[in-house]
């Protein structure tokens, strides 16, 4: 088993385990940290996929910015660990939860099935222009030439999000009540 494959299993395993733990326990702080870990693993996978730039971006944007935001919120709200199901203050129907869980498994099965159909499309031969894939120059060119409009639009999206966030968290207008 080649070194790359080993690395794949290492990172992939890390990502899966971390993600499982994220949804697997009740303390949001740990969930956030574990998610960061899983992102790190994904970044590693991106490097394996000849996308070092995206790997770094993943770290900077996700781990460096978005997750900090989550961490902040968790800290500011001082969110308590989830109460175990048996003594929840309000009686909540569990149907949807379990249905969702089952459906999730069903989804996994289906995805696996779909995958099994196309298995072997990639005969594993190395792509010709890995260097060109990895080059930030190329990414920049495509991003700012072919996707220029979409890029500009995202800027608007960001503005809207900012304004919305500020508006929502203003003291005087809590939850629009």
């Amino acid at each position: 088993m080649s070194g790359e494959l080993a690395l794949f299993y290492l990172f992939g395993g890390a990502a899966v385990v971390a993600s499982l733990l994220v949804i697997g326990q009740r303390n949001p702080i740990y969930s956030v940290l574990l998610l960061i870990a899983s992102f790190g693993a994904l970044a590693g996978l991106y490097v394996l996929l000849d996308a070092p730039f995206m790997a770094v971006t993943q770290i900077i944007v996700y781990a460096g910015a978005i997750m900090v935001l989550f961490l902040f919120v968790v800290m500011l709200l001082n969110v308590p660990a989830e109460a175990p199901i048996d003594h929840v203050e309000l009686h909540e129907p569990q149907g949807a939860r379990w249905l969702g869980g089952v459906l999730a498994v069903a989804l996994l099965v289906e995805l696996g099935w779909a995958l099994w159909r196309v298995v072997g499309v990639d005969d594993g031969r190395p792509v010709a222009d890995a260097g060109q894939l990895a080059s930030v120059l190329e990414i920049g060119r495509v991003l700012f030439q072919e996707y220029a409009f979409a890029f500009e639009v995202t800027s608007i999206l960001i503005i809207v999000a900012m304004v919305g966030a500020v508006l929502l968290t203003r003291r005087d207008s809590g939850a629009g009540s």
Binding site: I29, L33, I36, P52, F53, V56, T57, I59, I60, A63, G64, A65, V68, L71, F72, M75, A134, V136
Partner: protein
């Protein structure tokens, strides 16, 4: 003859220890310079001119009792300083500090003087530095004391705010050099104009340099931006509850971060290891000189300027530094487009 792999490992260890050392050296330098600025003697008892003082400090730290608040979250409390230190060390790993060398023929193929040569090095530095925030935040939160929490929130807010200016200042240099690899950026600065003016980034990007240094000071939570550990208000902020080794790690992290920032600044703006009078193989000497100058500047600033107020800091960061950085980037880009191509 040493095989390349071994050489690489040796280099790694070497860099690691040098960073460790740099911390203690910095401690000494800081105290001495502070003393000079304040017309004191500074440490002079331990060893000649108090040269052994850092050692004494370290020993003291090591033998202190490891305290931990009861209400603290044990795991995170332990984790936080590790994160800080790791981030600090890791960041340096992609910073080149000299031209390729064969160590006077000891190696068959030349060895690049950098732990890991990545083609997006500068972004890696950026990414890892941003990871440093977690150390502080977790420390503040996990030690479950309001001073720590406040310090942590402040410092992370500060770091996040200044990361923007930091990154944009980098942007200027990147645009000029047209590469993300620190080595290429450094090599782009080799030589001179008209034989006298060095082709350094600081010449092409003076404003960028200033922004970078300012943001760097804020990133490393140094005076005059040292809110996290503002003794007077926060009794040392996020590491209030820390002691002994774990405290030492934060301490270490802070100084290593300074070194890293200075090193990066040297590579980006001061032409790295390029300089007159010395052969390429001795370029690292130039590198050390320039870096030390910057470090001195750090200390100098710390002991000269008073601390800002928190709101002033944020004002400055968002309403002055950031716009300035943006304008600088735009102007640079325009210039490159019009002159270079």
């Amino acid at each position: 003859m040493i095989p390349a792999v071994v050489a690489q490992i040796l280099l790694l260890l070497f860099v690691f220890f040098m960073l460790l050392n740099s911390a203690s050296v910095m401690v000494y330098a800081e105290r001495k310079i502070a003393a000079l600025i304040q017309q004191r003697y500074g440490p002079y008892l331990v060893g000649p001119h108090g040269l052994m003082q850092p050692l004494a400090d370290i020993i003291k730290l090591l033998f202190k009792e490891e305290l931990r608040p009861l209400a603290a979250d044990r795991f995170l409390f332990m984790l936080a300083p590790v994160i800080s230190a790791t981030a600090a060390f890791a960041a340096f790993s992609v910073v080149p500090f000299g031209a390729d060398t064969t160590l006077f023929g000891l190696l068959e193929e030349p060895l690049p003087l950098v732990v890991a040569d990545v083609n997006v090095a500068i972004l890696v530095v950026f990414a890892i530095t941003s990871m440093g925030v977690y150390g502080i935040v977790l420390a503040g939160w996990s030690s479950n004391s309001k001073y720590s929490l406040l310090g942590a929130l402040r410092s992370s807010a500060q770091m996040i705010s200044y990361e923007l200016s930091y990154g944009l200042a980098l942007g200027g240099v990147l645009v000029v050099a047209g590469s993300l690899s620190l080595r290429e950026i450094v090599d782009a600065q080799a030589g001179t104009w008209l034989g006298v003016i060095p082709r350094w980034g600081v010449v092409t990007q003076p404003i960028g340099f200033l922004i970078f240094m300012t943001a760097g000071i804020a990133e490393t939570n140094r005076a005059p931006f040292d809110f996290p550990e503002a003794e007077q208000e926060l009794v040392a902020g996020y590491h209030t509850e820390y002691s002994s080794m774990s405290f030492a790690m934060f301490f270490l992290a802070e100084y290593v971060n300074m070194v890293t920032v200075s090193a990066v600044a040297t590579d980006l703006f001061l032409g790295g290891w390029h300089g007159p009078f010395l052969p390429e193989s001795f370029g690292w000497i130039w590198f050390l000189v320039k870096m030390s100058a910057l470090l001195f500047f750090y200390i100098w600033v710390r002991w000269t300027l008073p601390r800002y107020r928190y709101d002033q800091l944020m004002m400055f960061g968002w309403k002055f530094l950031l716009p300035l950085a943006v304008v600088n980037l735009l102007v640079t880009a325009a210039g490159v487009l019009s002159f270079v191509g």
